[in-house]
Amino acid sequence: MEGNRERNADAYLRMYRQMLRIRVFEENAHQLYLSAKMPGLTHLYIGQEAVAVGICDALEPTDRITSTHRGHGHCVAKGAGFRQMFCELLGKSEGFCRGKGGSMHIADQENGNLGANAIVGGSAGIATGAALSAKRLGSGGVAVCFFGDGALGQGLLYECMNIASLWKLPVIYACENNHYGEYTHVSEMASGDLLDRARAFGIETATVDGQNVLEVNEAAEGFVSRARAGQGPFFLLLDTYRFHGHHVGDISREYYRAKEEEELWKSERDPVSNFAKWLRGESVASDDELNRIESEVRREAEDAVEYALAAPYPGSEEVDMHVFAEAG
C-alpha cells in the first residue's frame, strides 16, 4: 500500500476512524438483526469501507451524494452521527427520516446525503440533478452518485451520463464493483468493458483499488477538484467486495460464490485492517492510538444502539404527516 508522504497524519487518522466507524456500525446493525431487534432486512457495507470513506473525505459537507440500498457506509462517511442512524434503522422518531425511511432510505440532508435508494440505479438522475443545481446556482458544489456493478444494468444511468456529459455537470459516477448483484456475478450481468460504458459518452474514467483508501481518496480528490473547476463529469470504478451476504439473511452463499474467494478477500484485502497495518508500519499511529480509536468508536456505537433501542417510535399521528410539504 502506497501513501502520499505529504498528507498529514490527521487526514489518515480521520479516514481510519471513519472506516472503522462504518465497520463497527455494521457489526452492530448485524447484531440488531440477529437479535430480532431491527425490523426488516439490511444490506451490510462491510468490506467496502475504503470506497465510501476515500471518496467522501474528498468532499465538503455542502457537496451532495446519493446512496444505495447498501447505504450505511456512505451515510457514515458523509458525516452522519450514529444515534440518528440507529434510530432510523429501528424506526424511531429521532432517526434521520423520523423512522419513516429505514435502512434503505436513510438520508442526512444537513451533510449532503440525499439518501439511500431502494431502486437499483434509481438515484442516477438525482445525483445528476444535484450537479445541475450546483452548476446553475453557482455553488461550486459537486455531486457523487454511488452505485453498484448491478446498477450498470439500468438504462437510466446511461441517459444521465449522456446528459451530464453534454451539459458538463460536476458529477462523479462512483461504481462500486463488488462483483455481484444479489446472487449473480457481474460477468453474467455486464458485457464488454465496464469503463467503456462511461467513455462512450466522452466521460473520463479511472479505475482504482477500492480496498485501498488512500488510492481511492487520491483519485477522488483529483476528480472532485476538476469537477469543481467545471471539467466534469467523471466516472470512477472501484474494485471491491462485500464480506457478508447480499443482505443479512443471505447465509448460504456457496451456490453463487466460493468460500475460498470470500476468505481470500477477508484475509488479504480487508480495507480496515490493511490500513491499520499501514498506519502502524508508516508510524502514523501506534498500536495504542489505534486501539484507543477503536474503543472510542465501539463505545460510540454501543451508546447509540442503547439510545436508539430506548428511543420512542413516532406517534400514530405521524402516519399521514409529510405526504406533502407545506409552503415556505
Binding site: R98, G115, G122, I126, L132, V323
Partner: protein, 331 residues
C-alpha cells in the same frame, strides 16, 4: 376581459413565474428554439436563455430524474413530457422517487417540481399518443394532479403548481391548446384542491374533468332545452380532490354523473363516483353514472376513435334516464 388561448396561458404562467423566481428551470425535448411541437413555449428561450430553458436528449426517465435531484437541491424544475403517454417512461422517477422523497425523509427533503404533460384523444394520433393517464398518478400519494379545462385554469393552476413545494403533474388537453378563454391581465392563482361550479343547476350534477367540462356544459345546454337543470362542476385538481363541493352539489340535486376522458375501468371516474355514492348515499335518487373513454387502446381510424370518448349527447341521455329513474340494472 381579453381572451387568450390555453397555449398562451401556459406560456404566460411560466414566463411570469420565471421572472419572479430565478431558480425555475424548464427541461424537456425541443422546448427551447422549437418551443415544443405544440409551440406552447415559443419565446421563452429568448427571454430566459438556454441555461434556463433547456433542450434535453430524448431521455424522459433521465431528465425527469435530473429534475427530481435538482428540485431536492434548490432549483424548481418544470419538466415537459411531450405526450402524456410517455408518463409510462417516467413512472419510477415520478412515483418511486419524486412522490415519496418528502415522506421517506421524514419531511426533511422536498421535491418542488412540475411535470407538464397532456392528455386527450380524437387527434388521430393512435394508441400511444392519445391516452389520458391522470388516474395513474392520482393514485400515488405524494403527487398532486391538476387538469385545467380552460386557459383560465391552465394559467392559474400552473402558477400555483410552480410555487407548490411538491411534485405536481399537470395534464393539458391537447385539443384545447388553441381554445380561447377570458384570462385576466392581472396576476391570479388558483388553489390546488378547489373545485369550481361552472354552471348552477338543481336537477342533476355533472362532474367533468379537463375537456369533459365542455362536454358537460354542452350536455347541460341540451338538457336546459328540455327543462332539466344541470349543475356542472369542474374539480380542477383530482388530487387533492375537492370532495366537499362535489358532495354538496350531489346532495342538492340528488343525481350525479361523472365524465372523464381516462379509460373507464379503474379510472378517475371510479374514484369520484365511488365517493359520491358513498358519501351522498342518503340523498341520491338515482345511481351515479360514469362516462369515460372506452376500455380499448385508442384506435387510429377516425370512425372508431370518435366512438371511444364521451359525447354531450350521451351524457344528456344519461341525465334523462337518471331523471326518469330508468336505471334498473337487471341482475
Amino acid at each position: 376581459m381579453r381572451e387568450i388561448t390555453l397555449s398562451q396561458a401556459v406560456n404566460e404562467a411560466i414566463a411570469e413565474e420565471m421572472r419572479r423566481d430565478p431558480t425555475i428551470v424548464l427541461l424537456g425535448e425541443d422546448v427551447a428554439e422549437a418551443g415544443t411541437p405544440f409551440k406552447i413555449l415559443s419565446g421563452l428561450v429568448d427571454e430566459f436563455g438556454p441555461e434556463r430553458v433547456v433542450d434535453t436528449p430524448i431521455s424522459e426517465p433521465g431528465f425527469t430524474g435530473i429534475a427530481v435531484g435538482a428540485a431536492m437541491t434548490g432549483l424548481r424544475p418544470i419538466v415537459d413530457i411531450m405526450f402524456g403517454d410517455f408518463l409510462f417512461l417516467i413512472m419510477d422517477q415520478l412515483c418511486n422517487q419524486a412522490a415519496k422523497t418528502h415522506y421517506m425523509s421524514g419531511g426533511k427533503l422536498k421535491v418542488p417540481m412540475v411535470v407538464r404533460t397532456n392528455m386527450g384523444a380524437t387527434r388521430r394520433s393512435a394508441a400511444q399518443h392519445s391516452q389520458s393517464l391522470h388516474a395513474l398518478v392520482a393514485h400515488i400519494p405524494g403527487l398532486k394532479v391538476a387538469m385545467p379545462a380552460t386557459a383560465f385554469e391552465a394559467k392559474g393552476l400552473l402558477k400555483t403548481a410552480i410555487r407548490d413545494e411538491n411534485p405536481v403533474v399537470i395534464f393539458e388537453d391537447k385539443l384545447s391548446y388553441q381554445e380561447k378563454a377570458p384570462v385576466p391581465e392581472e396576476e391570479y392563482l388558483i388553489a390546488l384542491g378547489e373545485a369550481c361550479i361552472r354552471r348552477e343547476g338543481s336537477d342533476v350534477t355533472l362532474v367533468g374533468t379537463s375537456s369533459m367540462v365542455q362536454v358537460a356544459l354542452d350536455a347541460a345546454d341540451l338538457l336546459a332545452g328540455e327543462g332539466i337543470s344541470a349543475e356542472v362542476i369542474d374539480p380542477r385538481t383530482i388530487a387533492p380532490l375537492d370532495e366537499d363541493t362535489i358532495l354538496a352539489s350531489a346532495r342538492k340535486t340528488s343525481r350525479a354523473i361523472v365524465i372523464d376522458e381516462g379509460h373507464r375501468s379503474y379510472g378517475a371516474s371510479a374514484e369520484i363516483a365511488a365517493r359520491i355514492a358513498e358519501k351522498a348515499f342518503y340523498w341520491l335518487d338515482a345511481p351515479v353514472q360514469r362516462f369515460a373513454a372506452m376500455d380499448v387502446p385508442i384506435p387510429f381510424s377516425p370512425e372508431l376513435e370518435d366512438l371511444t370518448v364521451p359525447t354531450p349527447a350521451a351524457v344528456a341521455e344519461g341525465a334523462r334516464r337518471a331523471m326518469r329513474g330508468e336505471l334498473f340494472h337487471a341482475p
